[in-house]
């Protein structure tokens, strides 16, 4: 019974990951992250993704504040924030978030404020979708570990 639970949860995890790769939400870099997780760092992926969430949310808040300012003109700062988001999204394999950040960056390079506002909305949408999917993945993983009788702090 216990084994079936673990197997079913593993199948759910595999199904979710396959779907995320198929949708282009994740790419090969995410697999590289998973390969770095081992017994000496059993929560590596969880830790890295949470750093990504913390940093991304600060950047997204800053971008929103900048663009909401009526006097806004600092497109260079927008570009710098987006470079960081592009870099960190690439590092964890968040392909769709990375791609929409690149599109947003193009609008900022043209000093196109309406384009930037649209770009920000798209980035926020993709980011929140990714975050929800990652939370689902981590919940399934935690359930799988509990079912297998493994205790890791998460």
């Amino acid at each position: 019974m216990l084994g079936l639970g673990v197997d079913r949860l593993q199948a759910d995890i595999n199904r979710l990951l396959t779907s995320l790769f198929h949708q282009g939400v994740l790419d090969e870099q995410f697999l590289q992250l998973q390969q770095l997780q081992d017994d000496t760092s059993p929560t590596f992926v969880y830790d890295v993704i949470n750093i990504y969430f913390d940093e991304s949310e600060k950047l997204l808040r800053s971008l929103r504040l900048l663009l909401m300012d009526r006097e806004f003109s600092d497109y260079k700062k927008i570009g710098l924030h987006l470079n960081q988001l592009v870099g960190s999204s690439s590092s964890i394999g968040a392909r769709r978030v990375r791609n929409v950040c690149v599109a947003f960056r193009s609008a900022s390079e043209l000093n196109n404020r309406p384009g930037c506002l649209r770009g920000l909305e798209v980035v926020e949408h993709e980011y929140h979708y990714l975050k929800n999917m990652m939370h689902e993945l981590f919940q399934l993983e935690q359930q799988r570990l509990l079912a297998a009788g493994v205790r890791y702090p998460m």
């Binding site: 390969q35 770095l36 890295v48 470079n83």
Partner: protein
Amino acid sequence: MATTSTGAIEKTKSVEVKKKLNVLIVDDDTLTRKLHESIIKAIGGISQTAKNGEEAVNIHQNGNASFDLILMDKEMPEMDGLSATKKLREMKVTSMIIGVTSLADNEVERKAFMEAGLNHCLAKPLNKDKILPLINSLMDA
């Protein structure tokens, strides 16, 4: 595992470097530092980190630092990777320095970074498959 005459442990797995590397990771981004630390650990090395070029230079100031490899990010506050690389070479630091660039960097910027004193340049994101063959070939050269 076998122990060489110098005491360095050689692992026979092809997924690790030929010698246990001591690496300095220079990057202002927390996530990148954590990722690169894990990559270096996965390929059999040990690492220390610096948050920017100025910290990297300061680590070398007292003359006791001895790194086989420095992974140097290009864009950093306080002192960027290009300036830090130039400074380290002026200080006669002979470590391998691999520059780490982003996709936003154009060819002119990458060339200037190389000319500052890099052994090689790689674009983010880094992973084991990208860095291991490069390190092994630089060590062979």
